[in-house]
């Protein structure tokens, strides 16, 4: 068995294509994620909002405020003064995000909701609310007007962030965790290789091996062990890349994270083995199934759009239940976020159930398989 283990390990190490899918591809994607998300959390990049101002008179204070906020490098607006018809033309052409028209009432005209429209509305609402308060105070106590200007200019914080749990509730990590889930499932390619190596109808090598005086289960066990060792090593390398190079925070429970990676490695390998044993068709078709399920599963677990994970959980919980990528992502997130282990244990049980299902399914299909001719 040691002999078979050693040579299976050598064969797997020399398989460059599988090495790409299970190590290089996830690293490239994680690097691209890091590039795309680099500016998201910091919130320091703010592009001035293109705005048209229609001044019909009567609100010089507002116009003066808008103009002051349209000056300088850190301006809030790129302001264009125009007539109403010109401004609406600019809006229709998409050259401004909104048109603010002075008068009573103050009007905001937009094409669609979105970041820019929300900021414009929030700004104008603040102005109206502050103005109403100032007018009321000034009417009651004119002497206080001088003090109001200083108060309005003063920036005061009223809220403080209070993290609940071990980690911050970080959307971005969902992308990395679902990418890790996809990487674990792409370990199915390694499982495919191992099953192909013992199923005599799939490869010539397997046909020769089936004639050898070694029990099929022994050959399979040696092959799966080699696959497990190699795939686990690759995932540890990938984990190290995420933590040390890309600075992704997996929390402080590193030993449990590594144990979860081991469990997910086994899940991925048994998944690939199951697909190979079950799916009748060309090698390309089986590869397609592994890739499609991994990509789709990871997408639904939040790889492309993080919120999709929670939308699926809320509106289609059955889809989340049958998606192994979802359980993988949840297991890592539970370790990252929760103080207790309840959620992690629930996800880990899901992982074990999937692994056992795939392993038993594979064994049931391949056991005692005989061939009339090859």
């Amino acid at each position: 068995m040691t002999h078979i283990f050693k040579y299976r390990l050598k064969i797997l190490l020399s398989d460059k294509i599988t090495m790409f899918w299970t190590l290089v591809f996830p690293m490239v994607l994680a690097g691209l994620f890091s590039l795309a998300f680099a500016q998201l959390g910091a919130g320091e990049r703010f592009a001035p909002i293109d705005t048209a101002l229609v001044d019909s008179g009567g609100d010089e204070a507002f116009v003066s405020l808008m103009e002051s906020l349209a000056q300088g490098d850190d301006r809030l607006f790129n302001l264009v003064r125009a007539t109403e018809s010109e401004a609406l033309g600019l809006l229709a052409a998409g050259e401004v995000h909104g048109v603010i028209a002075t008068g009573t009432p103050l009007r905001l005209i937009i094409n669609e909701s979105g970041f820019a429209a929300s900021i414009l509305k929030s700004f104008v609402d603040s102005y109206l609310q502050s103005t109403a308060a100032v007018r009321r105070i000034a009417a009651d106590n004119p002497a206080a007007v001088g003090r109001l200007a200083a108060l309005l200019a003063e920036e005061r914080e009223f809220l403080a962030d209070l993290p609940l749990g071990r980690g911050t509730h970080n959307f971005m990590i969902i992308h990395y965790l679902s990418l890790l889930a996809m990487t674990c499932l792409l370990g199915g390619y390694v499982g495919m290789t191992e099953i192909s190596a013992i199923e005599a109808n799939l490869t010539h090598h397997a046909a020769r091996v089936s004639l050898a005086p070694v029990h099929k289960l022994k050959v399979l066990a040696a092959g799966i062990s080699a696959a497990l060792l190699l795939q686990f090593s690759k995932l540890l390398l990938y984990f190290g890349f995420l933590v040390l190079i890309l600075d992704v925070d997996f929390g402080s429970r590193t030993p449990l994270v590594i144990l979860t990676i081991l469990l997910c490695t086994l899940l991925g390998i048994t998944f690939g083995a199951f697909v190979t044993a079950l799916v009748r068709g060309s090698h390309g078709l089986k590869e397609g199934v592994v890739l499609a399920v991994s990509l789709a599963g990871a997408s639904l677990a939040g790889m492309n759009v993080a919120e999709l994970k929670y939308i699926v959980e809320t509106y289609a919980p059955w889809l989340a239940l049958i998606n192994p990528a979802h359980h993988i992502a949840d297991a890592f997130y539970a370790l990252y976020y929760f103080d207790t282990y309840d959620r992690f244990v629930a996800s880990a049980v899901g992982l074990v159930v999937f692994t056992v299902l795939f392993a038993c399914g594979t064994y049931y299909v391949v056991r005692r398989r005989a061939y009339v001719s090859l």
Partner: protein
């Protein structure tokens, strides 16, 4: 056109594998399209979304009652026990998005103008949490004005005035009230996710042709044939194009299944035109990748990196306005970036004429340029390989 017919036969024989990717990617695109409420475009009132929050107040005063009233238009108050583990779980599964706590003595500290902060826990990156933060800040800021500058008023009066001031909001109107907002928004989102599917499916489908034609014996037989190698190349490209356009057609049909009421809108036709032009550049890229290598796994790997990688940095999943300048600069060297830019231009337009569409047509022209460039480079690579072989 014998080479063309053979290419189509090869694609037909690989259809089961291609169909799996097609169905899976369309399924994920449709889930993403329908899972998200599109930004309202036209049609009426700018209405804030209501967010589920939990509020734990260690004291009940007129100030706190006023805070609840100030938040009421934007939130649903969810009653929960103040248990850390349960609250973690509620946040984790998005059953609530925000937890606000009012510590004991807050009202007194506020009236004394002594700094005391309200601890809050929110789902990171959630835009709804930002709105709640703004609302709390506005209420307390206005109340502070009354507290400092109108000290003679009672707390109840100050709160009542602050709430009345908070009700002052700008009159928001959409430029074109009669636009069918929701389905156009959904179409825009569906077409925005399209590059991911198109690039991957076309590259995988086209790869099958090059793998077949790349076999040594097939290559040698073709060299002996009376067909000009250039003619074979062009017929292969034509087959790629036919497959690409068939894929595009299938995706457009899917879009019309849920967006058919928008068929009369010019925006729909411009989305289709944009996706058609993008398909041409995707076909060119697939043709180039197929010429660079005949190893199927390498082509599929390249398709994945091209589809997923360019989609991320070009604004398919993360809006372009949120991406960094450097990232967008890199992305501008891909056709996906220009496709997303053109798509966004159409979504924001309410009037369609040559002036308003100039940005859109520029983006189309760039995509066509990419398509031509990919094909030219592919033909050059092929000629180079033939020359090296001879």
């Amino acid at each position: 056109m014998s080479a063309f017919k053979v290419c189509l036969k090869i694609i037909r024989s690989n259809l089961p594998g291609i169909a799996i990717y097609f169905v899976v990617f369309i399924g994920v695109s449709l889930i993403m399209t329908f899972a998200f409420r599109p930004p309202a475009a036209g049609g009426g009132v700018f209405a804030p979304e209501r967010v589920d929050i939990a509020l734990f107040a260690a004291e009940e005063t007129a100030l706190i009652a006023g805070l609840r009233e100030a938040l009421a238009p934007q939130v649903n108050f969810v009653t929960l026990p103040d248990n850390a583990q349960q609250l973690q779980e509620e946040l984790f599964y998005r059953r609530i998005h925000y937890i606000l706590r009012v510590p004991a003595g807050f009202t007194e500290a506020f009236l004394q103008n002594t700094p005391m902060l309200l601890p809050r826990t929110s789902v990171g990156g959630s835009s709804s949490a930002v709105y709640i933060d703004l609302r709390v800040d506005r209420y307390l800021e206005i109340l502070r004005l009354y507290t400092v500058a109108a000290a003679g008023l009672s707390l109840e009066q100050k709160v009542a005035f602050a709430l009345d001031d908070l009700s002052q909001v700008v009159d928001v109107r959409f430029a074109v009230p009669e636009v069918a907002a929701e389905s156009r928004g959904r179409l825009g989102m569906y077409f925005n996710f399209l590059p991911y599917t198109i690039l991957f499916v076309i590259t995988v489908g086209v790869a099958a042709i090059f793998i077949a034609f790349g076999e040594e014996k097939i290559k040698q037989r073709n060299l002996c044939s009376p067909l000009n190698p250039r003619s074979i190349s062009l017929q292969c490209y034509l087959a790629c194009l036919v497959f690409a356009l068939a894929s595009w057609g299938a995706l457009v049909v899917v879009s019309l299944l849920f967006g058919h009421q928008e068929i009369g809108s010019p925006a729909t036709w411009f989305y289709m035109l944009n996706s058609f032009v993008f398909t041409l550049s995707a076909a060119g890229l697939a043709y180039l990748l197929g010429n660079l290598t005949q190893n199927k796994e390498v082509v599929i790997a390249a398709a994945n990196v091209a589809a997923l990688g360019t989609s991320f940095i070009s604004g398919v999943f993360v809006p372009q306005e949120l991406l960094g300048t450097a990232v967008l600069r890199v992305a501008s060297f891909t056709p996906t970036y220009w496709y997303v830019r053109a798509n966004a231009a159409i979504t924001s337009l309410t009037t369609f004429n040559l002036t308003t569409l100039s940005g859109f047509f520029s983006a189309l022209a760039v995509q066509l340029g990419f398509a031509a460039a990919f094909v030219v480079i592919a033909l050059a690579v092929e000629k180079g390989k033939r020359a090296a072989a001879s």
